[in-house]
Amino acid sequence: MSKTNRKVQLTISKTFVYALLAIASFLAIFPFYWMFVMATNNNSAINKVPPAIIPGAELVTNFSNVINTIDFFGAIWNSVIVATLATLGVLFLCSLAGFAFAKLDFKGKNILFVAILVTMMIPPQLGLIPQYIIITKLGWLNDLKAIIVPGLIDAFGIFWMRQYISSNVPDELVDAARIDGCSTFRVYWNITVPIIIPAFATLAIIKFMYIWNDFLWPLVVLRDQASFTIQVALRGLIDNYVRDNGMILSGTFWATVPLIIVFLLLNKLFISSLTEGAVKS
């Protein structure tokens, strides 16, 4: 093979790679752009052939229609509350349990840990109906507790924390703290917690996104407008007889933007958290 021949071949394959990635990026980003276009156009611009593909002037009108149809900000607030509290609770409970599994000795430890891992294999729909009945009996229907409290169960979180604490918190440090008279809880709180901040960040992103985007469970236990999370509220937009697509996509767009902004700001952390966490389990 001559040198120029090789060079030509390399340029072709490089062009091909760029073209492929450019198309993929375009297809990934385009729906966001299109959502924005629809969110700024009125129905007659949307429902004509060919449909609008550049932003229009109806940004404010469409969004005020959203506010008149659903309690948009109330639902966002509910989602923030639910996702934040469930995440904080999971960070505390999972790191505490992970610490116990990694650094404390007690009978049946290994079997209990395996039992936790086994619960990860069970499809969530299996217990759906009795869970709904329990929530009804507790009087938690239409109550955000119905999302937060069951949301505190996180087998993956315990697994993740145990692995991280085992490999990042040295036994010598724990022993030294003990000799200095630290109680077990202080070994957790003052020694372990500061070391495992990166594990907190990963778990927080996974959990927050999961609760924020969850749909089936909130749909089942939140029946009243005032208790809707944003995902359930968005469904209210398409449930009307008259479908105003500009309004529907305005609500969807503004509900999507906050998480996308956070993602763009913390993209490295997001991508590594959401993928590494998955692969390692």
Binding site: S25, K48, I134, A255
Partner: protein, 307 residues
């Protein structure tokens, strides 16, 4: 209690023994929230599902034991088989292209000398951060059956008549599979990319010295080294596909049209539209068994390939 008293009588051994006991008590204490919560909101509901599967109950009145009647009812319902068939078809349509294209994109992203790498990474991953509900709403409108729907307008440019995406047998499945594909392909790309980056460069260099072509490098180095990750993604996307719910619910709405109904949507309809908690629980049990069977096949095949 008794133990603590014994410790008090033996001062020299007190500290070491009590420390050990304290550790154990703390250990149980620290892991107890999970087990308490799981008992109430996890284990009990699962056991109760198995009980409910054999009862007739509308959620309010008395329960009545009916034996295998609920299972018979479900298994004789053509709509259940339709839902199962739809789920399987959309599993293949949504998952297979997703994994194939994920590998290709990861390979492209991993090739040397690519500029804008982080831009490409961020953009392909962005759909995953979007909620399933939002994805289903956006694509639901793109797949509008009228001629002004985005996909129909594009087809119209090529002189193709509008497709009734929301009512035709394959239109519904294509639309829903596209939603699944769009949201997950970038996620799998990044997972494959991580796998590719873990392959030592020396392997490729050695292959080049031996005169290997690009195709041979992919076939004999890349694919075998990626195998565990491929198995992982097949496994997770299969389980995800069997639980497909949000996309069809948003796309076909409360009509539960038979072209797009899935097993979980069928379960949801039995429980919360028909108040038939017995048959709904029977459906949940059947779905659980299907997931077990398919997961076992997955594991068996994976073990076979791994050798």
């Amino acid at each position: 209690m008794a133990q603590i008293q014994v410790e008090k009588q033996l001062p020299p051994r007190k500290s070491s023994l009590s420390q050990k006991t304290k550790n154990a008590i703390n250990g149980y204490l620290y892991i107890s929230p999970f087990f308490l919560l799981f008992a109430v909101f996890g284990l009990f509901p699962i056991l109760f599902s198995f009980y409910l599967g054999f009862q007739k109950w509308n959620g309010l009145g008395e329960m009545e034991y009916v034996g295998f009647q609920n299972f018979k009812l479900i298994l004789e319902d053509p709509l259940f088989w339709k839902a199962l068939g739809n789920t399987m078809i959309m599993w293949v349509l949504g998952t297979l292209p997703q994994l194939l294209i994920g590998i290709i994109l990861a390979y492209a992203l991993n090739s040397a000398l690519i500029k804008l790498k982080s831009f490409f990474r961020i953009s392909v991953f962005m759909p995953y951060v979007t909620s399933t509900v939002a994805v289903a709403i956006v694509f639901g409108i793109m797949f509008n059956s009228q001629e002004f729907g985005l996909f129909n307008a594009i087809l119209g440019n090529f002189g193709i008549d509008p497709v009734s995406w929301s009512t035709s047998e394959w239109g519904v499945k294509m639309a829903i599979s596209t939603m699944v594909f769009w949201r997950w392909v970038g996620y799998n790309t990044i997972i494959y990319l991580a796998g590719l980056q873990a392959i030592p460069n020396e392997l490729y260099e050695a292959a080049v010295i031996d005169g290997a072509t690009t195709r041979q490098k992919i076939q004999y180095i890349t694919i075998p080294m990626l195998r565990p990750i491929i198995i992982f993604t097949v496994f997770t996307s299969t389980i995800g596909a069997l639980q497909l719910f949000t996309e069809p619910l948003i796309f076909i709405g409360r009509t539960y049209r038979q072209e797009g109904i899935t097993v979980v949507l069928y379960l949801y309809r039995e429980a919360f539209a028909n108040q038939a908690f017995g048959p709904a629980s029977a459906t949940a049990i059947i779905l659980f068994l299907i997931i077990i069977v398919i997961s076992s096949i997955n594991v068996l095949v994976a073990n076979r390939i791994a050798r």
